[in-house]
């Protein structure tokens, strides 16, 4: 083999060697229970109910009451949860027609009278609740999901805006499919949320929820 040919062969062999190798994905084992555990119907034991928005449902349509700067808080919460995913598993958009919404967000009105599972969150300055209309027997989630974020402090309270922002992100976490609370106060999905953004554990929990087959079937009105 001539000199130039040998050099070319060595270069190509070097290139081929460099062309091998794969990215190493992290092990996402740090997560909490996101599913809703309810008494089994019928019979003893429990049912573990899980949900995530299907790709075909995206973007999720969200109607938000124009009060207490809630549209901005909800828009921010959408961005935060969209950014939690690597493969665009969740996307949402604000809509102007509440009758066409998958999620309805109210600011300041407590919901009552629904046959629902309530997932409350509270802080000194504000409180939030997500109502899920779930028929455990038929494993159906009836839309819309209803969210309320209510101020509990005067409008000039310095902590109110922060509280509304993080509580909205928390409640939207329920609306995307995290149907339980984290036991860790460092997570946005802690019962009494204190941090302003989802933690790595929140993100990994959301990812797990979206890559596990849901047990709840969505029913639209």
């Amino acid at each position: 083999m001539s000199g130039p040919s040998r050099r070319s062969t060595m270069v190509l062999a070097g290139l081929a060697a460099l062309a091998c190798g794969e990215i190493a994905a992290p092990i996402r084992s740090d997560l909490y229970e996101w599913r809703l555990v309810t008494p089994s119907i019928p019979g003893p034991g429990v049912d573990t109910l899980s949900f995530h928005w299907d790709r075909g449902d995206l973007p999720v349509r969200i109607w938000v009451q124009d009060i207490n700067d809630m549209p901005a808080h909800v828009q921010r919460a959408i961005q935060v949860w969209e950014a939690a995913f690597l493969y665009r598993e969740f996307q949402a958009t604000l809509v102007t027609d509440s009758t066409d919404a998958d999620v309805i967000v109210l600011g300041g009105v407590s919901l009552a009278g629904l046959r629902s599972v309530r997932l409350p969150a509270s802080a000194p300055e504000c409180a939030g609740v997500t109502d899920l209309d779930i028929d455990v027997e038929s494993s159906q989630l009836r839309l819309p999901i209803r969210v309320s974020v209510e101020p509990q402090a005067p409008p000039d309270d310095t902590g109110l805006e922060t509280c509304l922002a993080l509580t909205t992100i928390h409640e939207m976490g329920h609306a995307i499919g995290i149907f339980a609370h984290s036991p860790d106060p460092d997570d946005i999905m802690f019962t009494d949320p204190q941090v302003e953004l989802p933690s790595t554990r929140d993100r990994q929990t959301a990812e797990a929820a979206y890559h596990t087959p849901p047990s709840l079937e969505v029913v639209r009105p």
Binding site: E22, I23, A25, R88
Partner: protein
């Protein structure tokens, strides 16, 4: 005072006469960009994308030339999990290679190059949340030419290049190392004839 100007002009004219330049269109395909595991395996892949290539070269020795080649490609990319594909948007790439080329036999020439590739997603989201990366690129290829007009040759080119892919967002999330990505392209175009 006029002499340097005349010499420069003469040099520039000679340089222009020896400059080879070309443009081609074609298609490029790439191997898997990301391999992840979320309960089951997820593969992020680019679609076969239309490509535009442009380049120019100058003689380095009687048989070899040195040149720059730039390519632009734009196509879709998606995530596949358990046979189900999810559209992730549009992904453009731009590459620039500084290379050498020389004759093999007849109208066939080899080419080797080093340079970079820029990923330019339509949206800063998902794996590109922190933007598209620039990665080191190495490539090789073959060119075949056939005179078709007085001043122009038909040029058919095949290219192979590779780089190691990752993004700031993947690294932020704990992905380590990088994915070896191979690209293969086939293109056809016109090159200025140097006879």
């Amino acid at each position: 005072m006029l002499t340097p100007v005349l010499l420069l002009a003469a040099g520039a004219g000679a340089l222009h006469a020896q400059t080879d330049y070309y443009a081609r269109v074609g298609a490029v395909g790439a191997s898997t960009l990301v391999r992840d595991v979320l309960v089951t395996e997820i593969l992020v892949r680019q679609s076969i994308a239309p490509m535009l290539a442009m380049g120019a070269s100058l003689p380095l020795s009687p048989s070899s030339r040195v040149g720059l080649e730039a390519t632009l490609a734009s196509g879709g990319f998606d995530a596949e999990q358990e046979g189900s594909e999810s559209d992730l948007g549009t992904l453009r790439t731009a590459s620039l290679l500084l290379g050498l080329d020389g004759p093999i036999r007849g109208s066939l020439r080899w080419r080797l190059g080093l340079g970079g590739i820029l990923y330019w997603p339509s949206e800063d989201a998902g794996i590109f949340l922190e933007g598209g990366p620039v990665r080191f690129l190495a490539g090789a290829g073959l060119d075949w030419r056939k005179p078709v007009m007085t001043s122009w040759d038909l040029m058919v080119s095949g290219r192979y290049d590779f780089h190691r892919f990752s993004t700031d967002e993947l690294e932020r999330r704990g992905f380590t190392q990088a994915q070896a990505v191979s690209r293969v392209s086939l293109s056809v175009g016109l090159a200025r004839a140097i006879r």
